[in-house]
């Protein structure tokens, strides 16, 4: 990402003022990754386009509620996007067992997510990729099923025909390793700056 792009905190400032520039800049920063995520989850180009529009309209409508001091626009956009996409592909089943973390809660908590590091998610893509490459094949598989297909632990176990305990331990180690890769990267970046 070119360094002249506005930081999330500046975008939030503009969105709070209901300045359309802010939305354009947010789109330029996150539109592509959100679209890629929608496409990966829905496998449907026209649905993905609808979802992108819906996402940014939602962002525009919520703009005032963001806190520029937190600077976590990316966390909100990508958390809501992933949730919308999973809802889209699983609309009939989505209310099944265990699906209780609502989009409203994600909305609320991601708006006030960490302020520790000003780096946007996109700036950390390389560490995320590297972290993922270091996972073993089973860890990659369970992480993809949970993240991109929205499967629960027991659904993954059924899909892979593996014991639930095994799936849980693969998922735990996959997420633990990704957590360290992502948080480690942000700690390093703030250390360098």
């Amino acid at each position: 990402m070119p360094s002249h792009e506005k930081a999330d905190a500046q975008l939030i400032d503009l969105l709070r003022k209901r300045d359309a520039e802010g939305l354009a800049a947010a789109y330029d920063r996150y539109g592509r990754i959100a679209y890629s995520l929608f496409l990966r989850i829905t496998r449907d180009q026209s649905a993905s386009e609808d979802l992108v529009q819906e996402l940014f309209i939602r962002l525009w409508n919520r703009g005032r509620e963001f806190d520029a001091s937190k600077g976590t626009l990316g966390v909100w956009i990508l958390s809501i996007a992933r949730n919308m996409a999973i809802d889209h592909v699983r609309s009939a089943q989505a209310r099944l067992a265990g699906r209780s973390c609502s989009i409203e809660l994600i909305d609320k908590l991601s708006m006030s997510a960490h302020s520790a590091d000003p780096e946007s998610i996109i700036d950390r893509a390389r560490s995320v990729d590297a972290g993922f490459r270091n996972l073993n094949a089973n860890e990659k598989r369970v992480l993809e099923l949970a993240y991109f297909e929205g499967l629960s632990q027991s659904e993954i176990a059924a899909r892979l025909k593996e014991p639930l305990g095994t799936v849980k331990s693969w998922t735990r180690s996959a997420l633990g390793r990704m957590r360290r890769a992502i948080q480690g990267a942000s700690a390093q970046e703030s250390g360098n700056s």
Binding site: G31, I33, S36, R40, Q53, S102, R172
Partner: protein, 239 residues
């Protein structure tokens, strides 16, 4: 569940990838406003949001940028509405058109479109269920002024509950749908809230056993309950 155990589960929780029991334990605990866990969830959202970069990069069209940005600018407001309206079912579209009369309601309308789009997807699932050969349809309610609607139920496909004139709920409450078997405990079939007009279309893919005698609706805490905690305000016998 202890904090060290929960600390490992926040990512799965925000991804809605936990099984019911674990998710409910965390839900229940979060209702106590635990600062430690809220912090844990915020950190988890950072991790899960970052995973989005693992999606293969794809390039949206330039036109999508134009359409998206023009949808929030006053001079070009009508166009995305037409697009949205075209995609919605006739009933939903009527609501949208009605509300377009009032410019001051534009803001609310945008939020409603997201909701309606979700409802459209639900209607699609409902239509799929309607075409199954084992689907039974039962109407309920005596008058237009009291709760009424219909239940579509399939032993292979699940249940669709269409309700109108449903009572308004407190903010922290939702309806829970139950399948009542001939023998044994009611089985939970999902949570839902009515829209501001008291309407709701709720789809559950919990397969209804042939022995399901009735469906019932209770008012429950937001996270739902494994067994009804209030007297059902609605019981629809299927026989």
């Amino acid at each position: 569940m202890s904090h060290p155990e929960m600390d490992e589960l926040y990512e799965l929780y925000v991804l809605n990838a936990l099984d019911r029991d674990d998710a409910f334990q965390i839900d229940a605990h979060l209702e106590d406003d635990c600062a430690h866990c809220q912090e844990g969830i915020r950190a988890a959202l950072q991790t899960t949001a970052a995973l989005s970069v693992l999606a293969d990069p794809a390039e949206p069209t330039k036109d999508l940028r134009r359409r998206t940005l023009s949808s929030i600018k006053p001079p070009a407001r009508s166009r995305p509405w037409l697009v949205a309206i075209a995609g919605l079912s006739a009933a939903c579209a009527a609501l949208v058109v009605f509300s377009l009369w009032s410019a001051t309601r534009m803001q609310q309308m945008r939020d409603q479109v997201s909701v309606l789009r979700g409802e459209r997807n639900e209607l699609r699932s409902a239509i799929e269920l309607l075409t199954r050969s084992d689907t039974r349809t039962v109407q309920f309610g005596q008058t237009e002024e009291t709760p009424h609607g219909r239940v579509l139920i399939s032993s292979t496909g699940g249940v669709v509950f269409v309700g109108m004139q449903l009572p308004a709920l407190d903010r922290d409450k939702r309806f829970e749908l139950w399948l009542i078997p001939a023998k044994g405990a009611p089985e939970p079939a999902g949570m839902f809230r009515p829209n501001t007009s008291g309407e709701s279309v709720h789809i559950s893919s919990v397969p209804a056993e042939r022995s399901t005698m009735a469906v019932a609706v209770t008012i429950e805490p937001w996270a739902g309950s494994p067994a009804p905690t209030t007297k059902p305000f609605l019981v629809v016998p299927l026989g």
